[in-house]
Amino acid sequence: MQQASIAILIILLTVAVYIAMTKLYVRFSYPVLIPVLTTTVAIILLLLAFHVSYDQYMIGGKWINSLLGPAVVALAYPLYNQRKILVKYILPIIGGVFAGLFSGMISGLLFAEVFGIDRNLILSIVPKSITTPVAIQIATGIGGVPSMTVVFVMIAGFSGVILGPKIMKWVRIRSYLGKGIAFGSASHALGTSKAFEYGELTVSMSSVSMTLCAVLGSVFGPIVVWIFHV
């Protein structure tokens, strides 16, 4: 009984802080105020102030975690909405997504190996370019550390969004199709929000690519890891 009330209290607290921080972000919208960062910091401060351990926090936290599965299932909805555009551009999308998926996973593995990064970290790096709920599933499946993967996914996303526009200008990738698919494959949801600067076609391309990368990544992630014997 006590467990249940602790769980409910923690869930309510997390949701309340999240709502407050989202409002703050909408109001000021500085990049440093992204809700995931501010909410996390606020909750950590609360936990430290009230001497709550992480294990106690997770009594409620695990319920929030368990919503990741339904979130992945819900991805069917945007995919369904974009079925027409997916069918229309099926060849470049599939080709681009495969190119992005494999260049991402293999380059991640190789660079991690070159820079001498620990094995369990390498496994957490593999799904870094895939939208977070699916990346967590993949990381768990291949033996990575899910919480690390969450952070890597964010860093990878930001790096693609920051580097993307300049690089694509330099190497003269001009097609809106190419830009959209590249943003979606490299930077998932962050890339899709960046794609808004290039117009609607780029946004839909990015969003479709992001979902396809997630689907194909969950199939090929374990295979790539197995092939490279990491």
């Binding site: 339904p70 599933q137 590249a182 494959s185």
Partner: protein
């Protein structure tokens, strides 16, 4: 509210079916991805109506950030035990993102050029 719960039950049922498929056939694909396929299939065949899942799917995806809070809290609380060299990780992730941008961008650009040549 009841509508919302019903919609969520549909999503959960699809997830359960996906998980069952994954474990019964020992598939390497996570149950949630299979569930996504099942839901997509349902929507495409018209077995599941869009308005049955629309509301809940939309709000679930919009507030996905909430779901990443517990793992990140855990990571930051245990930061002392994490032995990573941040600059290495930043470098690896940025270089790899660069590879994706170039690999994807070039292959699509190449495809479009060839298509234009064939049509022109």
């Amino acid at each position: 509210m009841l509508r919302f719960i019903m919609q969520f039950v549909i999503i959960l049922a699809t997830l359960a079916a996906g998980n069952a498929l994954s474990s019964v056939f020992h598939l390497p694909i996570p149950g949630s991805i299979l569930g996504m396929f099942l839901l997509l299939l349902g929507l495409l065949t018209g077995v599941v109506k869009l308005r049955w899942v629309e509301g809940v799917a939309n709000s679930h995806l919009r507030h996905m950030t909430l779901l990443f809070i517990p793992p990140v809290v855990g990571l930051l609380l245990n930061w002392g035990a994490v032995h990573i060299q941040l600059w290495k990780v930043l470098l690896v992730l940025s270089l790899s993102s660069l590879c994706i941008l170039l690999g994807t961008g070039y292959s699509v650009e190449l495809y479009e050029k060839r298509k234009r040549r064939r049509n022109g």
